[in-house]
Symmetry: C2
Subunit: 249 residues, 2 copies
Amino acid sequence: MTDTTSPGVPLTAPLYKELVRQMRDALGSGEWKPGEAIPAERRLADRWGVSIGTVRKAIDELVAANILIRQQGRGTFVATHTRDRMLFYFFHVVPEDGAKVYPVVRLVSFTRGKADRGEADHLAIVSGDTVVRIRNLLELAGDPIIVDDLVLAAARFPGMTERQFRDRPSTIYNLYQDAFGVSVVRTKERLRARTAEPDVAALLGMPRGAPILEIRRIALGLADEPIELRTSRVNTQHHEYYAEIGGAP
Amino acid sequence: MTDTTSPGVPLTAPLYKELVRQMRDALGSGEWKPGEAIPAERRLADRWGVSIGTVRKAIDELVAANILIRQQGRGTFVATHTRDRMLFYFFHVVPEDGAKVYPVVRLVSFTRGKADRGEADHLAIVSGDTVVRIRNLLELAGDPIIVDDLVLAAARFPGMTERQFRDRPSTIYNLYQDAFGVSVVRTKERLRARTAEPDVAALLGMPRGAPILEIRRIALGLADEPIELRTSRVNTQHHEYYAEIGGAP
DNA sequence: AAGTGGTCTAGACCACCAT
DNA sequence: TGGTGGTCTAGACCACTTA
C-alpha cells in the first residue's frame, strides 16, 4: 500500500545495525545480564560470521548509549545502576557550589491506585490499570531538598512491596534492575518554575507560595518503553539543576 | 619534577587523537571555515600519511561534537549556526504541547561596562575589563516569554555594534560566527526557580513575585574557551525547558 | 602467558550526489 | 561519470588485566 522505496529507508539495513538489534535482544531477553561480561569481540565475530570491525562498530553504539561498558584488558560489561556509577548520570541536582553529594532517600508514602488518562498515555497502559504511587523525600547534606512522586505500571513490577523502597542499599533504578529486570536507559525531562503546593512546601520546610523547580520525567527502557513517571519538586534556594549541551572537548 | 609515568597518561597519544587536534587547529585558525567543505577523507589520509580509517575515526569525534557534518556523496562540512540547523540544539524552551516554535528576538538594551569579579572569572578575563551587556526579549508565538541578559568580553568581539543585534537575519550564535569568527560549540547550564525581579516581570507581563525559571548559561568555543555568559528568565506558565538524558534508541 | 579491548592498515565495494 | 562518504573485511600489533 505504501511506498517502501522512498529515500532514507534502505531495504537492507547495514550489517552492524542488525548486530545492534541482536545485542539489544540478548540484553532484553536476559541472556546478557547487568554486571556480567558479554562474549569477547572475536567470539561474537565468529558467532555471527562477520568481521571484528563490524562487531566493534555495533558495540560502539551501545557503549555510546551507556548500555555497555568497555574495559580494556577485562572485557565488555552490561551497565548497572550502582550508586557510584550511574546515579549522577540521571540525577542532576547539585549544590550551588557545584559539588556532587549523594541524596538520602526517605519513603513518605507507598500506595496503589488506578491510572488516570494522562498517566496511562505516558506509561503505555490503559486508563484504570493499576499503578504504584510512591512519594520520596530526598535529603542533600542533611537538608530536605526534593520531593519525588513516582508512578509505575504495577504489571511491570509484579510483587513490588513497600519494604523494597524502605530499606534499599542502592539506587531506585538499581532496584528496578535487580529485582524486576527492568533497565532504565534514558530519560526525557520537562522543567518549569511553580509555586509549591502546601504539602510539598511543608515537607521541604518552605513558606507557602515559595517558588520551586518542578521536573517531570519519563524514564525509558531498552526498547524505549516507558518505565516510570516521576515528578520532582526541588527547593532551589541553595541548589541547582545542572545540564550540559554538547559533549566535552 | 612530577611523575609522568602514572597510569592513564600514555606518553604517546593515539594517532587519531593527534588528527583531531590538527583538525581543531585548522578550524580555529580559519583554514576551514563554517559552511565550507573540508578536504575529502582520502586527501586528508594522504596529507597526513595515515590510513583512511584513522582519518574517519578522527572525523567521527568532531561529528559527534556537532562541529563537523557528514553528507554522503557531497562531503564533510563545518557546522554553521543557521536558524533551522543549530537553533534548537541550544534553545530548549518549548510550549507545553511540545511543538517547536521559533523565537522572535527584540533588543531591549545594549551597553558597555566593566566586568565584575564573577563575570571576569567565568569569561576568563580580568576584573574591570570591558564587557558588552545586551538584554533581549524573546517572543514565542507573539507572547513575551523570555528575558535574556548576555555578557560578552569586548576584546573577543571587536567593533561590535548595537545595530548588529537590532536587525539580525539569523541567530545570535550565527552572528558571533559570521561577524567575529567565534563558534559556540557547547554550553553548560544551571537552572533554578526564583521570584521574578520587577523589571523582568514587567517585560514578561507577569505579576510581581511570580515564579520564573532562571537559566544561567556559559557558552564555550572550539578550544573550550568561554564566549558568552547568559542569564535567561522564562515564564513557564505555558512553556517548559526540555532535556533528554541518554541518546535516542 | 593468555586473553581482552584499542589502534591502525590497505584495500574492496556500495550508496549517494553532482555534472 | 567521477567524486564523495558509508560499510565491511582480514589481518597486525599494542596496551592492559588477570592469573
